[in-house]
């Protein structure tokens, strides 16, 4: 085996088995040993399908049409079933996205580790295997004692579970490793440690790593090379610095422009439209319908990869034309006086069945302004927002709306107070009734209020216009809409009661970056046009500068720092905020 032969994917195509439509096509990638290739793309772009193919695995309903994948010198797609089983976890291993659901809840972690070694006859004796497990546990910075190995997955934290996943993946010393969004869902400080471990292990053991993610900042921080996927094809690839400093494909440019960055003062820019699913993709370049540079030639055939310079190449006929996405700049707020308080929280404490999770929180949300409430999972930020919305029962202290004291839960509040504070939930897939047209869902509060169907219809069309959706959308059902469209509907449903305050709870975290940027844009416009007071709850620190004038940082149920976004992010005073910011990966910082 030559020393640099890591992973090589040649002309790979995978189809939907039932229809023969391509899920991914024309995939050509190469990763040398000891290097990390970041495979970036939105959900549905086919990146996980490619990743699983490297393990010669296709999910139900997916089939390999043609292509070859070499792990080292072994071509894996043509192997028989027993040979496939042998290379999985041995020659090539996989780290899944969600460690909580990928570890078997019924088996102890020690068992789940040792069975990989046994399946590949690694170590020879059970003592040797035990020693190997201890070695691995130490490498991923987990306790090595026997008691720890006796634990079940649910007795570990998310970060620990992912470390077990890493230990499992590196256990048999693979040549190739596929990491499928392994840090999504982890807090930034945990993510930082896991990324460090991944970098360490791949370098030390000369592994070729395929790192799948939608998070550009993580790629900038971790990867050596990047491949960008759109609609099942690689549209651009090259070294990290090349791609981020000089993106050549219009889609990559939009992706970079839409990615929030902790170290950047630019505000994010979204893009309308969406990538079509297999079978509905347009002829020619799949990005053409959303591309401002598109011309007739783009719609005839899929563009060939064009070298751009260095190792960089892009699948665009205009790859060498320098065109940039208009980048916005965050407004500086220092010269402007802040609005009047709309909602004031004074010494709010809250808990769940007696266990206090929020302690003595005081905040002000101002008219026409957005306050970002940021914190890691479990910091209590959602509990605070639920208390404001009247969705949480167990809280003490005082919440005032325009100076009036609010009752504890929404049911006790006056109708006007209830209408004045509207809540938009995190998951647009779960918050809309699937059996109602979205128009009916939006109109519901009006009908309850006694409005006639005719009047309600007019208001619905009006709010749909406000969230930039055409009127006929009122007749659609939620499952006919994309994630971004659903979130627009959820916002429209909140706007229909003409609220003064909008509470947005992680409203963009289920969305792809381009869609996220568009929603952030929309929320900013609405806030300015309607003079809304907005509370934007998020774990996504880089997003803060693009959405909010003021930010409050929460940790363990307390506000640790509050101030203007510009100064808190740019020059944090508290140690906790500083550590949070330095743990957050950044494109700009990595490119310096």
């Amino acid at each position: 085996m030559s020393s640099t032969a890591g992973l090589r994917i040649v002309d790979l195509r995978l189809n939907v088995a039932a229809t023969g439509n391509d899920i991914v096509d024309d995939i050509n990638l190469k990763i040398e040993r000891g290097r990390v290739l970041g495979l970036v793309g939105e959900s549905g772009s086919g990146k996980t399908t490619v990743g699983l193919a490297v393990l010669s695995h296709a999910r139900r309903g997916v089939e390999v049409a043609h292509g070859q994948i070499f792990c080292g010198d072994t071509e894996v797609l043509g192997l028989d079933n027993e040979a496939k089983r042998k290379i999985r976890g041995g020659l090539v291993s996989y780290v899944p996205q969600d460690p909580a659901s990928s570890l078997n809840p019924a088996l102890k972690i020690g068992m789940q580790l040792v069975e990989v070694l046994e399946a590949h006859d690694f170590g020879g004796s059970s003592e040797a295997r035990k020693a190997r497990i201890k070695e691995m546990m130490a490498e991923v910075l987990l306790p090595t004692d026997d008691e720890y190995l006796e634990r079940y997955p649910h007795q570990l934290s998310g970060g620990q579970q992912q470390r077990v996943g890493l230990a499992m993946a590196f256990a048999c010393r693979p040549s190739v490793i596929v990491l499928d969004e392994p840090t999504t869902g982890l807090d930034v400080s945990t993510q930082e440690h896991v990324l460090k471990t991944i970098r360490q292990l791949t370098r030390d053991h000369g592994v070729a790593a395929l790192y799948i993610t939608h998070d550009l900042a993580v790629i900038a921080d971790l990867a050596d090379d990047v491949a960008v996927m759109y609609s099942g094809r690689v549209v651009e690839q090259g070294e990290v610095t090349e791609i981020f400093k000089n993106p050549a494909h219009p889609y990559t440019r939009h992706l970079v422009a839409a990615a929030p960055d902790i170290a950047s003062k630019k505000s994010i820019v979204g893009l309308a439209g969406r990538a079509e699913s297999p079978g509905k993709r347009p002829v020619g370049c799949a990005f053409a319908p959303r591309c401002e540079l598109a011309e007739d030639a783009c719609r005839v055939a899929f563009p060939k990869m064009v070298p751009v310079g260095g190792r960089q190449a892009a699948a665009c006929i205009k790859a060498n034309q320098k065109a940039s996405v208009a980048a916005g700049w965050a407004k500086t707020m220092s010269t402007r006086t802040l609005g009047e308080p709309a909602v004031e929280l004074v010494s709010v404490s809250a808990g769940y069945s007696g266990n206090a999770v929020v302690h003595d929180v005081s905040l002000t949300i101002r008219k026409g302004e957005c306050l970002a409430l940021v914190g890691e999972s479990g910091s209590g930020k959602t509990t605070v927002s639920r208390a404001i919305g009247g969705l949480h029962r167990e809280w003490t202290g005082s919440i005032r709306l325009n100076g009036r004291e609010l009752k504890t839960v929404a049911r006790q509040r006056a109708v006007a107070d209830r209408l004045a504070i509207q809540y938009v939930f995190q998951n647009p897939y779960g918050s809309l009734n699937p059996r109602r047209t979205v128009g009916d869902s939006i109109a519901r509060p009006l009908i309850v209020d006694g409005k006639s169907k005719h009047d309600a219809r007019r208001v619905v069309l009006d709010v749909l216009d406000k969230v930039s959706l055409p009127g006929p959308y009122a007749n659609k059902y939620p499952d006919q809409l994309s994630g971004g469209e659903r979130q627009r509907i959820a916002i429209a449903r909140a706007l229909v009661s003409e609220p003064e305050v909008l509470v947005c709870d992680e409203v963009t975290s289920a969305l792809d970056v381009l869609v996220q940027a568009a929603i952030v844009d929309l929320l900013g416009d609405l806030r300015r046009q309607l003079g809304l007071a907005m509370l934007f709850v998020t774990h996504n620190l880089p997003l803060v500068r693009s959405i909010a004038d003021e930010v409050a940082v929460m940790s363990e149920g307390r506000i640790v720092e509050v101030g203007m976004s510009e100064s808190v992010i740019g020059d944090p005073q508290q140690e906790y905020t500083q550590s949070l910011i330095s743990a957050t990966p950044s494109i700009e910082r990595s490119m310096r």
């Binding site: 999985r88 019924a106 088996l107 069975e115 649910h154």
Partner: protein, 321 residues
Amino acid sequence: MKASIFRFVLKRIALGLLTLFIVSLLIFAVTQALPSDPAEAMLGREATPETLEALRADFGLDKPIVVQYGNWLFGILSGDLGTSYATSIPVSEYIGPRVGASFFLLLIAAIGSIPLSIVVGANAALHRDRKFDTASSLISLILAAMPEFVVGTILTIVFSTTIWQLLPAVTYLEVGAPPWSDLQGLTLPVLTLLLAVTPYVARVMRAAMVEVLESDYVEMARLKGMDERTVLWRHAMPNAVGPAFQVIALNLAYLAGGVIIVERLFNFPGIGSALADAVRSRDLPVIQFLALIIAGVYILTNLLADIGTVLVTPRLRTRLK
């Protein structure tokens, strides 16, 4: 850990006993409050008011209802189940062997149906949308749609009367004789019960298994190179039997009631036929005790299922304090 499971089991037993007590109140209230008069049912229309009065006094039916309930409950607790009105022999003597016979029938049906339904369900899930799955789904749907007496009748037609004469159509079992003394006669009732329960459990097992086989951890097990046997038995099965336990319990409990029809059909001398006879003759002590036994079976099977589920689910097991 061990102690915590023991405490959990004790708590569930205590709750089960409480449930049984409430059920006993209901049974007594319903049966004793029935507008029918056991004395009248026994003596017929020609009975004089005096003889009726005397018989009622004999049965203790003239006492206040609370006293009657107290006597009954105290009797059961001290092992005295009372005397059958219709046969004038002690209920324990009358019911005892029949309970044994029915219990034997149930046990054989359970021992047969549990592994059968797990194997059928798991295999259907494993070969999803292929021949075995389609065939087993179709057959279980047809069986589930037919009441037991139809299944039993068809079995009788096929195996003992019209087509083949292989097995007896009725059980020739003396009351009190050990139920295994007529194995031939036992075959058709057991088969009927088996066919009544297996489809439901197999379908639930299939659904649970399909879900587990689609899970991330099963995909992960394959991606780390486990062979299919290990994937199925070590990774999938333990996570699928938990939900199946609950349905198995419900079905076994259902059998305790469903056995009535099947016993009737094959003339099997168990609690089913005894209950039917007792209802006809308003034999209150027998009805009450049998109702209590059937309720007891319900409570016991559910208790066992809950404990079983907790034992195979680490997340639940480790939560016990």
